[in-house]
Amino acid sequence: MSGGGVSPLPREARPYQGQRAGLVTRLVAAAIDGAVVGLMLLGGYVALAGLLFLVDPRGFTFPDVALILSLASAFVVLVVYLTISWLISGRTYGCLVMGLRVVGPRGQKMHLVGALVRALFCAVFPVGLLWVAVSQANRSVQDTVLRTSVVYDWQPRGAPGHPIPPEGT
């Protein structure tokens, strides 16, 4: 407490703030993110169908999207979603729910290129997340390669004692 102000965190969670998260928490967060992306795709599909219905109500049929196009769409949506989330707040919705935050090599917030590269890496090689269980530093393959970290951070705007510095610092 000394010098750090009053912590709004529950006592039992304070010791873990700033520690790299383990496999289970990150898997749950990834599953939530997957669900979010799925909902976004579904929403996009519904929006597309609605647009087609408005254009040609008589000849309207649900669009038949090819598998490759669906996968490509999912890939793009996932990459954009992850990149924007990590760029803005360092956390996706799944990370927000599970109290996680993605930070750069020195604990700083991700910059655009770093967030984009990491998003691409995660989308291409999601299995790399399982390396967290093996790594002694709780790092996934992406974290090991890009020197990033996913830490427990229950603070909505960064921990008061050690705020995450802005990009480039």
């Binding site: 009053v6 039992e12 520690q19 604990g107 002694q136 970290s149 921990a159």
Partner: protein, 272 residues
């Protein structure tokens, strides 16, 4: 028939005249020899004899003293001359004051003293007027005297019993200034933080305002952390690793409390 020169009378007379002629030289010679011999013999005799003992044994000193006319002797004594001749300083130097004092029975002396009459004669006011009280006070360590001999607790209790401390404080203490001084010394922010931390105010706020959803999220997070640790330990055991994982992220700042000091509850009460 016998010539007169040879008659006994004449012969004795002759001898008497010769004796008279020789007696005087012999007496002088004897006197000279006695002058030499007697001091030597006397010195030897007196050296060997214990005169004091003999004197004490054989002489009745009381009778001798009684026979002496001391008054006449004292009258003849020129005391001033005696005193003038006495080297008082030398006498005082020879006196062992300590031994003299040891021999004095002070109690007996004091018993004989009529203190009341002494006090009556003393002009206490004059004595008090001559006292240098400041000098006396300078010599006395009053603090030590008070601390050693005064029952401060009893004094304090008596004083406190007699005065109304509350009214004294209210009348004579500038409470505003006192409060200002106290507030100036106290780090109120730190104090407030300590109090808030002690009562866990964030927890109270969470309990009063938190929703079921936030409780569920909190429980899910804590269970996630517990599951993370369990999986990590299991994998480490499988890989025959020893020691803890290094999970502190660089630049984020170490937590003041290490995780091993705070066990994770398997399930918080509020998640149910």
């Amino acid at each position: 028939m016998v010539p007169p020169r040879l008659q006994p009378a004449g012969l004795l007379e002759l001898l008497g005249r010769e004796g008279a002629e020789r007696r005087e030289p012999l007496r002088e010679a004897l006197s000279r020899r006695l002058d030499v011999l007697v001091p030597a013999v006397l010195s030897e005799v007196l050296g060997r004899a214990r005169l004091t003992e003999m004197l004490l044994r054989y002489v009745d000193l009381d009778m001798v003293v009684a026979a002496v006319d001391l008054d006449a002797a004292a009258a003849r004594l020129d005391v001033d001359e005696v005193v003038r001749r006495v080297d008082v300083d030398a006498v005082v130097d020879r006196v062992e004051v300590d031994s003299v004092v040891d021999r004095v029975d002070v109690d007996a002396v004091v018993r004989r003293v009529d203190v009341a009459s002494v006090i009556e004669r003393v002009d206490v006011d004059a004595v008090a007027g001559k006292l240098d009280l400041d000098g006396v006070l300078d010599r006395v360590d009053l603090t030590a005297v008070v601390l050693g001999r005064v029952d401060l607790d009893a004094v304090l209790d008596a004083v406190l019993d007699r005065i109304d401390l509350t009214s004294v404080v209210l009348e004579r203490v500038d409470l505003d200034a006192l409060v200002q001084a106290i507030l100036a010394r106290v780090d109120l922010v730190a104090l407030a933080e300590e109090v808030i931390d002690a009562v866990d105010l964030p927890e109270i706020i969470r309990e009063s305002t938190g929703s079921m959803a936030s409780d569920t999220v909190r429980g899910a997070r804590m269970q996630g952390i517990a599951a993370d640790e369990a999986v990590g330990r299991a994998v480490d055991r499988l890989l025959l690793r020893r020691g803890r994982r290094t999970t502190q992220a660089p630049g984020v700042g170490a937590s003041p409390e290490r995780p091993e000091q705070t066990p994770i509850p398997a399930q918080t009460d509020r998640t149910s």
